[in-house]
Symmetry: C3
Subunit: 199 residues, 3 copies
Amino acid sequence: MSFFTFIEILGTIAFAISGIRLASAKQFDWFGAYVVGFTTAIGGGTLRDLMLSLTPFWMLDPSYLVMTAFAMILVMFMGRLLIRLNNTFYLFDAIGLGLFTVVGVEKTLGEGFPLWVAIIMGMITGAAGGILRDIMINEVPLIFRKEIYALACVIGGVAFGICDYIGVSTSANEVITSLVVIAVRYIAVKYELKLPVLK
Amino acid sequence: MSFFTFIEILGTIAFAISGIRLASAKQFDWFGAYVVGFTTAIGGGTLRDLMLSLTPFWMLDPSYLVMTAFAMILVMFMGRLLIRLNNTFYLFDAIGLGLFTVVGVEKTLGEGFPLWVAIIMGMITGAAGGILRDIMINEVPLIFRKEIYALACVIGGVAFGICDYIGVSTSANEVITSLVVIAVRYIAVKYELKLPVLK
Amino acid sequence: MSFFTFIEILGTIAFAISGIRLASAKQFDWFGAYVVGFTTAIGGGTLRDLMLSLTPFWMLDPSYLVMTAFAMILVMFMGRLLIRLNNTFYLFDAIGLGLFTVVGVEKTLGEGFPLWVAIIMGMITGAAGGILRDIMINEVPLIFRKEIYALACVIGGVAFGICDYIGVSTSANEVITSLVVIAVRYIAVKYELKLPVLK
């Protein structure tokens, strides 16, 4: 298992956990919580793949179902631990966000689209799952009101474009872009940075 | 008209009626109620077809528009009767759920996907229309909180896989799978079986 | 720049403004407001293109991002003016609705679908962006409860079909269809015409 695969698993589980916890708080039964967790984890990439005219990635690999089941077991048996690990959890979520952004940007460029489309698809890959989660549990999407979230994906996408332009290798660029997203998210949460609201 | 076509019409009308009634209760005008009814009836299959890279089925056959119109007329002129028939209505809905599951499973296998994808697509075909309905009328999706619903589709999909594996003919399997879904739903409603909520 | 391009820009900006204003009223930050504004402007056409198995139109032309940015600047610096221009704003929205309907109808016919599919796609192009906007800000979709809106697109689509059948040239038909939609909307708002609610 490569380092990136390991990171992707961590990120997927973190996304699924956030969906399972919020759905359970809304009195969804465990099957509903599983569906919301799965949708949170794969929703962004699914929307991206549909727009790129590709088969949604999770239909080609059952391991995302297994990761969501693992997230479910964690919530069931380690609920108290997860609450205590809340800060670590934020970090996993940020790691997932960074990696999902990279995957979205690269997959879109690979289909021949220009960088600006790739940046948007990176953002959709990272942030749309959380929006779908909030729509399914009938809440106003959180990510547009709390600390910088979707914008972190855009900043990461721009960083990818700059590094690519100045000749950084793809594998180095993947690490840099992920780290940019993670750093923006980390700083935003630590200092509670929020974007202003329009009047 | 084959028996299956007859069943599909019944199920589509039952799904459309549920959308029209809930939208009307939310003060949607009759055109809005029609749109919600149509979306409830065709939403699951549309999502399935988009994920399978197929043209949504209702774009190839105007009869779903007609069935929704018929559902509308029923709600308009037979509202009181429909309320009295509430139990029959549940049965129609269960019949629709069973048949939609079969259609989703078979169409997905026909596109060359493995069984586990087909089971998920069976569930999406049966249950996603109701989720879209609840999102459009701004309610928390009901099907993840009341008696076993989406899970009935999954159980039906698994039954299909087992029957197929042991060599049951396709036409017999279609009937068996539908009956499994209907039976699970019937028992769940009769005994008010609910899945537990995670704490 | 052709007259139609000019009209399309006006309509896109009007749609984006409605999304930005409603999202800001819901305490979305400026980035969230931008995303909702963009979704309102391009959401209907995106859904149409996915159903037609086409690449979403905005992925082939970055100008929709620029128009949304322009809408944002207008809301930021001309908020008071926009409120005073509320009636003009309704007109822009109606113009956008008319043109979006024409684009949806023609694109669908161009893909070889029959008229009834084209009429539905015209309605989706015009009205689905507003529905997605309302879902994202967690409100019951407005367009199914206030003055005739989505139905105006359908009436426009039917007008397109009739004109086409009696041999009106395409360019004349585009103008006629747009004007029909705009007129229906104008009359509906002026006389507060609403469709009845089913009991």
